[in-house]
């Protein structure tokens, strides 16, 4: 069980969770984007390692997508967007860093507690992968909840997607069609979001979503 294959895969998955924690407390957008790029790069390495470990060459495509598209292209585009929107110097109030981190730790504990007991039948590699992937998903959600800025919410969502891809590649032999389409849907998601950002920018002077909440037609 404690082969080198397992240890390296475990380390890389753990790296992804670590990157999620690093993202939780970044209060400047450029550094947040850097952390996203870092996480995507670690994801690329992790997927690449799975490609070797599972002897599944098609996973290299997913790994290449993670590094080329998510670690390089998207962060570049996001940097351009925040400069264009002139929010790259703003400091976001993240709330209590301590509290957010504690919540994050609790979520990771929850993920391990939920996944490990029920997957006892699967091999150790897949179990750890799923458990850590769920942690990344939950941390991404936590980030989407704690942030008010539209760009950081997107980054939280993309970090969540990273977790999903980690889970998909950890499941041995999952058909290729899914992986490509996942990557594809990330692309679509990004285009949609891009359109949104510019529309929001067209109408408001801020991309702070609390401004949107004030404009609700529905007075509840």
């Amino acid at each position: 069980m404690h082969s080198l294959t397992f240890d390296i895969a475990h380390m890389l998955s753990g790296g992804l969770v670590l990157a999620s924690f690093l993202m939780l407390y970044q209060d400047r957008l450029p550094s947040l984007i850097n952390m996203l790029a870092l996480q995507a790069a670690v994801l690329g390495l992790s997927v690449g390692w799975q490609a070797i470990a599972q002897d599944a060459p098609h996973l290299w495509i997913t790994a290449a997508l993670a590094i080329g598209f998510k670690a390089i292209a998207i962060p570049m585009a996001l940097r351009r967007i925040i400069v264009k929107l002139d929010i790259h110097r703003e400091i976001e109030t993240v709330g209590g860093i301590g509290r957010t981190m504690l919540a994050g730790i609790a979520l990771v504990a929850l993920a391990l507690q939920v996944v490990l007991p029920v997957t006892s039948a699967s091999d150790a590699l897949a179990r750890e992968d799923i458990a850590l992937a769920l942690s990344v998903v939950l941390l991404g959600m936590l980030m989407m909840v704690t942030r008010r800025n539209a760009v950081s919410q997107i980054i939280g969502f993309m970090s969540l997607e990273n977790g999903i891809i980690l889970a998909a590649t950890g499941a041995r032999g999952m058909p290729l069609v899914v992986e490509i389409s996942v990557a594809f849907s990330v692309l679509i998601a990004f285009i949609v979001v891009g359109i949104f950002l510019f529309r929001i920018r067209e109408r408001f002077d801020t991309v702070d979503v609390t401004a949107l909440d004030r404009l609700r037609g529905d007075g509840t």
Binding site: F157, P175, S181, F184, I188, V192, G217, D218
Partner: protein
């Protein structure tokens, strides 16, 4: 089978060209009609299941219902969009986008329904949802953008959870079915399901229920739904309520069937009953203080989807039959209401209920159609919704009398709330300026007549078909 997929796809590609508006609207109707006919032919003679696509009774039902509502909505959309175009709310570019996206959305929904691969099902639903997000934000007003943003964020989180659940299902299947197998084919999964690891299935279903449940609009994940209904163009609102919610429901049902086939897994019905009942009761009370006409009916959709999920949760042929009937009645009835609400809001220039009144006097056709639609949807006899709701209540009484009482209370609360609102809008002294707008009468009357006919007489062949599906859903 390919007809139902290729026709919308080709039509969407054509709409990317610059077409004059009347031609585009006509082509939209023609493509939707052709899709509907293709769906009918497909269900009449289903081909054997393939590796990517398959047809059985359940998705055949959703496919026919969906492509019919798609067709009638395209009829409605012609006049509605013409008015929006004439008043300048929609520009040339947005018009092209609208028609292309309309067909692409139908493509996504049909693909999701027909998919045999659970991954493909997920991708197609994701495609349809993303398009719906773009459509909700079509007007680009601050409120529309907020609604679309909310839909996007909640929908994405939901879809991410659903994918996680899908991966877990695959992992549960792989342990039994081996590496190089069809462990993502639904037809293979359902036969092998009794041998799956139950704990893994349970965990997967929780994710799938939360994920697809977000798209169905179940409380507490419904927050996007009323806003998306309120701010999108009305044809899209009708498609959302009449179709997209059903497609998500279909995905949920597929996984429910896998879980139900495994004796060691938790009975999936319990979770569905809990969320469904919560949706009915919560939405019923939210109906009372809605100031916005389209959002009001958005909450009514939450209530009805809750009721349907509840009925499928009760399970057994009787409850499933009632749930299928309720699904059809809700799709037809609710889109009929939106076919009336759209022109009403155009004529009044507002969606606010407190600025409307006496519509039956000032605009008889629209006013009375709205009355008929609301009376039908709240479940008054002789309309079909009465029959399906009655069947759901009796099926629940046979199994869980206490739940039937709670459900009945929720339905009564919704009944009273909607009639109260209807009274304010349709009767009394006429309020506000009415500008004459073009109204597409055919789809509106057609839907209301179908709902009425289903309440009076359900053809034995149709009833037998629904019953057969209900037995298979289990």
């Amino acid at each position: 089978m390919l007809g139902t997929l290729l026709i919308p796809l080709i039509a969407a590609a054509i709409f990317a060209l610059k077409l004059p508006r009347p031609l585009a609207c006509g082509l939209n109707v023609a493509a939707s009609l052709a899709t509907f006919i293709a769906a009918l032919l497909l269900v009449a003679a289903p081909p054997p299941p393939g590796a990517l696509l398959f047809v059985d009774g359940l998705n055949g039902f959703f496919l026919v219902l969906g492509s019919f509502v798609g067709f009638t909505t395209s009829l409605f959309s012609g006049r509605y969009i013409a008015h929006e175009h004439a008043t300048g709310r929609i520009g040339e570019g947005a018009l092209r986008l609208y028609h292309a996206m309309f067909q692409l959305m139908l493509f996504g929904m049909n693909l999701s329904l027909l998919a045999n691969n659970i991954g493909l099902m997920w991708v197609a639903l994701e495609l349809a949802t993303l398009i719906a997000v773009v459509m909700v934000g079509l007007y680009r007003t601050p409120a529309a953008i907020e609604a679309a943003w909310k839909y996007f964020i909640l929908g994405s989180v939901g879809i991410a959870l659903a994918l996680f659940g899908t991966i877990l299902i695959y992992m549960a299947a792989r342990g039994v079915m081996g590496d190089d197998s069809d462990a993502m084919l639904w037809t293979a999964l359902i036969t092998a399901a009794p041998k799956f690891d139950a704990a893994m299935l349970n965990l997967a279903f929780v994710f799938l229920l939360l994920g697809y449940g977000t798209k169905v609009g179940l409380v507490p994940l419904h927050a996007w739904l009323p806003d998306a209904h309120g701010e999108g163009p009305t044809p899209i609102t009708a498609v959302l309520s009449g179709l997209l919610l059903n497609v998500a429901l279909h995905a949920l049902l597929r996984f429910k069937m896998i879980l139900a086939a495994n004796p060691a897994a938790i009975p999936p019905g319990v979770l569905m009953i809990a969320l469904g009942l919560a949706s009915v009761i919560f939405a019923a009370f939210m109906l009372y203080r809605r100031p916005d006409l389209k959002r009001l009916f958005g909450y009514s959709s939450v209530e009805h989807m809750g009721l349907i999920v509840f009925a499928f949760g009760i399970a057994g042929p009787a409850a499933n039959f009632a749930a299928l009937l309720q699904t059809a009645m809700h799709s037809l009835g609710k889109s009929a209401i939106f076919f009336a609400v759209g022109p009403i809001c155009q004529a009044m220039g507002t969606q606010r209920i407190d600025r409307m009144g006496g519509l039956t006097a000032s605009s008889p056709f629209l006013g009375w159609s709205l009355v008929a639609g609301v009376v039908a949807i709240v479940g008054m006899p002789p309309f079909g919704v009465f029959m399906s709701e009655f069947l759901i209540i009796t099926a629940t009484f046979a199994r869980q009398p206490a739940l039937a009482v709670l459900l009945g209370l929720g339905l009564l609360a919704a009944f009273a709330a909607l009639l109260l609102r209807l009274n304010a809008v349709a009767f009394g002294a006429p309020q506000g300026e009415i500008t004459p707008v073009p109204v597409a009468r055919t789809p509106l009357v057609l839907h209301l007549l179908l709902v009425l006919a289903a309440g009076l007489y359900l053809p034995p062949a149709l009833a037998a078909w629904l019953h057969e599906i209900a037995v298979r859903v289990g």
